[in-house]
């Protein structure tokens, strides 16, 4: 393979070792690599407790994995269980990225997730060391010295190589550094025997490849690319490039989504079977999403409601739920949005117990002015718009729970209890 025309850069993909668990260890004066600690969310809908993060030692000793449940935890006195503090983790992530900015220009730093960032060091690594590994170590040491956290670094000539180096090699390396280059593709990429270990290959893709007689990356790299494209479409071509360590993406070119949407979803704390309770939560989510649409100065013209049934109900109904959309005149009005959602729900719900609810607003357009309706009195339309804005202003100033529907106090309402959550888990504000 001739790699001379492929992009050759120096990319780091940096990940925090057991991020949430490490932050909690450090705040308790404990060494993150030597402590058995799990971060467990115990909100209403986690069924006893959901493990969000596990320290490396707890993984090693008790084989606990993330997203395990409370019932899977051993009752061992060496183990510490702590609640999550999402806001603290966001703050730490910002501190880490501020450190990264000392090594790369702002435009070469791409936060990838709450604990992962991509750094394009092509132009700056020589300022900090004689080799990329040395620079990686310097970044690790700086973060450890200033924040007490351990980093794992994947190094590659493109972001794909860096990501695979991080996932497959860095996590098991003594220095927490892994590297893949074009020259080492045969020894480091093709030797990966388990397809699902590779980024972007999930269980279903692996299964599809196995059906085609491809069980590892070597076989993928030496398969017929035309056959892959014929079988899997554009993904087939992408997978073939992946097997050869090729990634031509330009991170500096931001991808513009074709159709942006805004939405919220939640898992209910228990199975809801009464219509009044389910409709209450739909109303709460509808209002929340409408407020977000207004906050972004947008109007929506397509509403989507997805309902997921409880296990028993989905087995009985022979479907796991339903998802339907409806069109409407561009709007950001809470009342109109919730009434349409309720109409959708009543049309398709047949009495099944519900566990998941999701509401999405798509086909957004800029809110450049109110389209008045000829059939509704003008003063009522203006009053409704002003009402929405006053509610938004009060909530922005005094918090979401400063103004709630009285019905949210009824049994089944989730808005008040969820208001302190960040990403569905405890934000930790009440501990400060």
């Amino acid at each position: 393979m001739d790699y001379s025309r492929e992009p050759h850069g120096v990319y780091f993909l940096i990940d925090n070792k057991s991020f949430y668990a490490s932050v909690e260890c450090v705040s308790r004066g404990l060494e993150p690599l030597k402590t058995c600690l799990v971060v467990m969310s115990e909100t209403d809908n986690t069924n006893g407790g959901l493990i969000l993060a596990t320290s490396p030692m707890a993984k090693q000793l008790f084989h606990i994995t993330n997203v395990s449940r409370r019932r899977d935890l051993p009752d061992d006195p060496r183990l510490i269980i702590v609640p999550p503090r999402m806001n603290l983790y966001i703050k730490k992530n910002l501190q880490i990225n501020t450190i990264f900015q000392r090594f790369v220009a702002d435009e070469d730093l791409y936060p990838y997730s709450i604990d992962e960032s991509i750094l394009d060091l092509t132009h700056s690594w020589r300022l900090f060391g004689s080799s990329p590994q040395q620079v990686a170590q310097l970044i690790q040491d700086t973060v450890h010295k200033e924040l007490g956290l351990r980093l794992t670094v994947g190094i590659g000539e493109n972001p794909l190589q860096a990501k695979i180096a991080l996932d497959v090699y860095a996590k098991h390396d003594q220095n927490f550094i892994g590297q893949i280059t074009y020259a080492t593709v045969p020894t480091k990429l093709w030797t990966i025997s388990n397809l699902v270990d590779v980024w972007s290959i999930g269980k279903r893709t692996a299964h599809h490849l196995t059906r085609l007689g491809i069980t590892n990356l070597f076989e993928l790299a030496h398969s017929n690319p035309y056959m892959l494209v014929q079988e899997m479409g554009v993904i087939g071509a992408q997978l073939f490039a992946l097997a050869w360590g090729i990634d031509r993406s330009k991170l500096s070119q931001r991808i513009k989504p074709k159709d942006k949407s805004l939405g919220n979803s939640q898992v209910l704390p228990r199975d809801y079977s009464q219509q009044i309770e389910i409709e209450l939560v739909i109303k709460e989510i509808g209002q929340q999403v409408a407020a977000r649409v207004r906050h972004h100065h947008q109007l929506t013209s397509c509403l989507s409601l997805s309902i997921g049934f409880a296990y028993a109900a989905s087995a009985a109904a022979k479907r796991s739920g339903f998802s339907h959309e409806c069109k409407l005149e561009p709007t950001d009005d809470s009342r109109l949005i919730t009434s349409q959602l309720l109409r959708l729900f009543r049309q398709f719900w047949q009495g099944e117990a519900v566990r998941n609810i999701a509401v999405y607003c798509s086909q957004l357009c800029a809110n450049t002015g109110e389209q008045l309706d000829l059939f509704t009195p003008l003063c009522r339309q203006i009053k409704q718009q002003q009402f929405n804005h006053v509610v938004d202003q009060v909530r922005a100033k005094f918090g979401t729970t400063s103004l709630v529907m009285a019905s949210s106090l009824l049994q089944g309402g989730t808005l008040i209890r969820r208001s302190a959550l960040v990403g569905g888990h405890n934000g930790g504000n009440s501990f400060e």
Binding site: S27, G29, V82, P83, F431
Partner: protein
């Protein structure tokens, strides 16, 4: 004079808040050890308070109760005295090895912990 009174007021309010949050977690279960942990966080320059509890031979639970951003040992000593006046929970210290209480001139933490 007014400044001292104000400081004392803040101190009492802090101690009351910490103790109240610990009391909220205190379930008075049998064979369970409850204690307050104070950590000198030298990365964030804060004093972190946790309420820990552990039932015999079972997992330890650790709940954050307060983060004090004022990193002043003299103030902490007064705060701890106030907490001890309000509650009888044991207090464990981390990150204070080699530190002395400024007024009492006694070591705060006797044994070095794993991270030091």
């Amino acid at each position: 004079m007014e400044v001292i009174a104000l400081n004392e007021q803040i101190l009492k309010r802090e101690a009351k808040l910490i103790v109240q949050r610990c009391q909220d977690q205190f379930k008075q279960k049998r064979q369970t050890h409850y204690w307050i942990k104070v950590v000198n966080d030298h990365y964030d320059h804060t004093y972190n308070f946790f309420f820990n509890y552990q039932r015999l031979h079972q997992v330890e639970r650790s709940v954050p109760v307060r983060t004090i951003t004022e990193s002043d040992l003299q103030w902490l000593e007064l705060l701890i005295q106030e907490i001890q006046r309000l509650t009888e929970f044991n207090i464990e210290y981390e990150g204070f090895y080699h530190f002395l209480w400024p007024n009492a001139q006694r070591p705060i933490q006797k044994r070095r912990n794993q991270a030091e």
